[in-house]
């Protein structure tokens, strides 16, 4: 086996030590909004967010498309040597810097296996804690916050509402 493949194998999930931590992680995630009140991922991953669920489980779809880049086999998400898993930023400043038109962002709670990165993380399990609509005051947004809140069973805030930065203790 070549040195290259030995290095690749070291970063495969079964060879990584997942350090136990005491509590779930909070982070900030971006979605696009389709059909007014459906959340969809902004990346090319399979849609899992459009239907409301108590929590969401990440599965790697990338290995099928380009398996050679991260271990060539099916693996549990987040793969240590992959880019799979549910992405989130570490703090609200970072997520706000990335928000685009017709997007929604929100506080999320993550657990299971998590790859902590420089500006955020990739997680195995995730659920939204609350959502923030940047263009909340638009005339076209009438009733959307309420419908979004009812669909995902979480509070929906305007960005002008200071409560959106609150992280539950």
């Amino acid at each position: 086996m070549t040195k290259f493949w030995e290095e690749v194998i070291k970063t495969m999930p079964e060879h990584v030590y997942w350090e136990p931590v005491a509590e779930p992680l909070y982070g900030w995630r971006l979605w696009t909004r389709q059909n007014e009140i459906e959340l969809h991922p902004i990346a090319v991953t399979k849609d899992v967010w459009s239907e409301p669920k108590p929590f969401y489980t990440s599965r790697c779809e990338l290995y099928r498309k380009s398996g050679w880049t991260h271990g060539w086999t099916e693996h549990e998400a987040p793969g240590a040597n992959c880019s799979c898993g549910f992405w989130a930023f570490r703090n609200e400043e970072l997520v706000w810097a990335h928000v685009g038109p017709h997007q929604v962002f929100g506080l999320v709670q993550a657990w299971g296996k998590i790859v902590e990165c420089t500006f955020g993380f990739r997680a195995q399990y995730m659920r939204p804690v609350h959502l923030v609509l940047p263009d909340f005051n638009s005339i076209y947004m009438e009733r959307i916050p309420q419908r979004l809140s009812e669909r995902y069973n979480v509070p929906v805030y305007s960005r002008r509402d200071p409560e959106w930065k609150t992280i539950p203790s």
């Binding site: 990584v16 030590y17 997942w18 350090e19 136990p20 931590v21 005491a22 509590e23 779930p24 992680l25 971006l30 902004i42 990346a43 108590p54 929590f55 240590a80 992405w87 989130a88 930023f89 990335h98 709670q109 993550a110 657990w111 299971g112 296996k113 998590i114 790859v115 902590e116 990165c117 420089t118 500006f119 955020g120 993380f121 990739r122 399990y125 659920r127």
Partner: protein, 40 residues
């Protein structure tokens, strides 16, 4: 969108209100007095 490069691999517990294991399916067992006697 960029979250940077991996720095640490952790495993976090589920929030307390999330069930960690699926509950076994409950099978209704009729009470003894509800069982009908079958004629011989």
């Amino acid at each position: 969108m960029d979250i940077g490069i991996p720095e640490r691999y952790i495993e976090a517990p589920a929030p307390l209100d999330i069930p960690t294991e699926e509950e076994p399916e409950k099978v209704a067992v009729p009470a003894e007095e509800e069982l009908e006697e079958v004629p011989a």
